[in-house]
């Protein structure tokens, strides 16, 4: 590998199984990215996703008024871009919800236009 003109720009540690393969993202002189070090197809897919558009599911809590608990656990219903996590957290913290709430209830629709909803993780009744 050392003799080609491509260089490793990032090492992505695969998280899909405890083998934890280190997958190198290599950039050649023409600007093409190739991956190396994966040992399964899912590993390659993961590395590509993680390289081009890393996404995470966000899980946090939202404030509740007059609830059985002061907070309700919430999540995004699909992964969102990693660099938007903080912005979404700040959106969530601005809001207080009223019970009763059912698991799956949409508490924020299409948050920040990311196509993901913030949904409730559990039922929550009034105090």
């Amino acid at each position: 590998m050392e003799n080609t003109s491509s260089s490793t720009v990032r090492v992505i540690r695969c998280i899909l199984c405890p083998s934890g393969c280190p997958i190198q993202a290599n950039l050649d002189s023409k600007g093409n990215v190739t991956f190396e070090g994966y040992t399964c197809k899912r590993g390659l897919e993961y590395a590509e996703q993680e390289y081009y558009e890393p996404k995470r599911i966000l899980t946090t809590t939202m404030r509740v008024e007059n609830g059985f608990l002061p907070l309700i656990p919430v999540r995004t219903d699909m992964p969102i871009p990693k660099d938007k996590l903080k912005d979404v957290l700040k959106e969530i913290v601005k809001i207080k919800v009223q019970p009763p709430i059912k698991m799956g209830d949409i508490l924020i629709e299409n948050v920040l236009g990311l196509d993901a909803n913030i949904i409730a993780s559990r039922d929550l009744n009034k105090i």
Binding site: R13, C14, I15, L16, P18, S19, G20, R56, I57, L58, T59, T60, T61, L69, P70, L71, P73, R75, K82, L85, L89, M103, S121, R122, D123
Partner: protein
């Protein structure tokens, strides 16, 4: 005193207890769940992150979602449960005594008991960290409950000792609430939890993971103001001159979980080295008709595995009531399963010779990570290899499951001890991953 009756009493209304109760109820028997908290769900309710349910539901759920699905089933099946109710004692004749603040003292007469009390966290005392005893030291699970359910933060800048999954998940959780996590300290030269959590909970936020170090002193008499960490040698002894001070206003401990078996002991059941009850291949403890499942038996990695084990415990309890209850059937001769090389513990502890033709689920945990290994079941009396399986890697944080029919593997009837070893793979063997 209020008296109840049930075919099966399930002690604990978390993931294990609910799954076992549903199994019992679906077989047409009466189940009663006794839960000490104010709602069903157990520890899952505070585990608000995703990572639950891939096996059981085929989707990635949060802890509360996973719990809610079971709570809904319990309600649909109209399985009775007592909340805010603490079991204070159960007896070998399957009478359960409990208290709560509505009914007072409660007596439940049953035919079988399923233990599903879960586990507790190891504390600072268990690992003997020297120093002061200031405010600001929490177990990771305790902090998790404060942050996610009670609505309070334990500190603004924190150090986490232990790279178990709860510790790493709390690192991300606190970062997301605006706290600064100074470092995660791990005494072992490797991470205790899942790689996924290392990447998504620590590396995503550039939280330093310091391997091969431990906290050797706690500073601050009133409120914690920092910790000294030191490098350790292979015996975990402090290496002189390697001390570093880290300022913090809270220390979270994520240093392991222990099955919670005070009640089990009090009833006279025997425990094994992992602090879980000794069970046979029917998950039946040394007290007839008392079964155990979930983290009270052994600490699991995934709730899905708890659910599966609890369902089996439910089935075994049903089988017991239908076939053995009230009859003078003694448990036949038993084979002892003995942890050998690089095996921390193995479940079940005992195999009934009568059940040798059944498929048995063995679960074990290794003591240290290893690659290219072979798991071997040896008949001690006949010095014979009964079963072997190759694996690419083993790590302490991942429980190994092996489903096995010993009769098919031609175990000798004279076997009294099965020694289970995890050893380097012999060179010439053909792989059977």
């Amino acid at each position: 005193m209020k008296t109840f009756e049930a075919d099966v009493v399930i002690i604990g209304g978390g993931s294990a207890g609910m799954a076992a109760a549903i199994e019992v109820k679906n077989a047409g028997l009466d189940a009663l769940i006794i839960e000490r908290d104010y709602e069903l769900g157990g520890i899952l309710l505070q585990c608000i992150h995703v990572g639950f349910g891939l096996h059981e539901f085929g989707e990635e759920l949060t802890g509360p979602q996973y719990a809610q699905k079971f709570i809904n089933q319990v309600n649909e099946l109209e399985i009775p449960y007592l909340l805010d109710t603490m079991v204070i004692e159960f007896t070998p004749d399957k009478t359960v005594y409990a208290v709560n603040n509505k009914e007072g003292l409660i007596k439940v007469e049953s035919k079988a008991i399923i233990l599903a009390m879960g586990c507790r966290e190891r504390t600072r005392g268990a690992i003997n960290i020297p120093g002061f005893r200031p405010a600001g030291i929490f177990t990771a699970g305790q902090a998790q409950r404060f942050v996610n359910m009670e609505g309070y933060l334990p500190g603004k800048s924190l150090v986490i000792l232990g790279s178990g999954d709860i510790g790493m998940i709390m690192a991300r959780r606190l970062t997301w609430e605006g706290c600064e996590v100074k470092a995660v300290i791990e005494i072992n030269p490797y991470v205790s939890g899942l790689i996924r959590n290392q990447v998504q909970c620590l590396e995503d936020f550039n939280i330093p993971l310091i391997l091969g170090y431990t906290v050797t002193k706690i500073h601050g008499k009133e409120k914690i103001r920092g910790v000294t960490i030191s490098k350790v040698d292979t015996n975990f002894d402090r290496i002189v001159g390697s001390d570093r001070f880290i300022e913090c206003d809270a220390l979270l401990l994520s240093v392991g979980l222990i099955p919670e078996n005070e009640l089990t002991l009090k009833a006279g059941a025997k425990l094994s080295s992992n602090n879980g009850p000794i069970v046979d291949n029917n998950l039946e403890s040394t007290i007839e008709g008392v079964f155990a499942c979930g983290n009270v038996l052994q600490v699991h990695d995934l709730v899905d595995m708890v659910t599966a084990e609890a369902k089996r415990a439910g089935e075994f309890a049903i089988e017991y009531i239908n076939q053995r209850y009230g009859k003078e059937i003694k448990r036949e001769k038993q084979i002892k399963c003995v942890p050998g090389e690089n095996v921390g513990y193995i479940k079940p502890d005992l195999v009934n010779v009568l059940d040798l033709s059944k498929e048995i689920m063995f679960t074990l945990r290794v003591k240290y990570p290893d690659r290219r290994i072979q798991i071997q079941f040896r008949d001690k009396e006949n010095n014979q290899l009964v079963y072997k399986r190759n694996k690419v890697y083993v790590i302490p944080s991942e429980m190994v499951e092996i489903k096995l029919n010993l009769k098919e593997n031609q175990i000798d009837p004279g076997c009294q001890h099965l020694i289970i070893d995890v050893v380097p793979r012999p060179e010439v063997l053909i792989e059977e991953e």
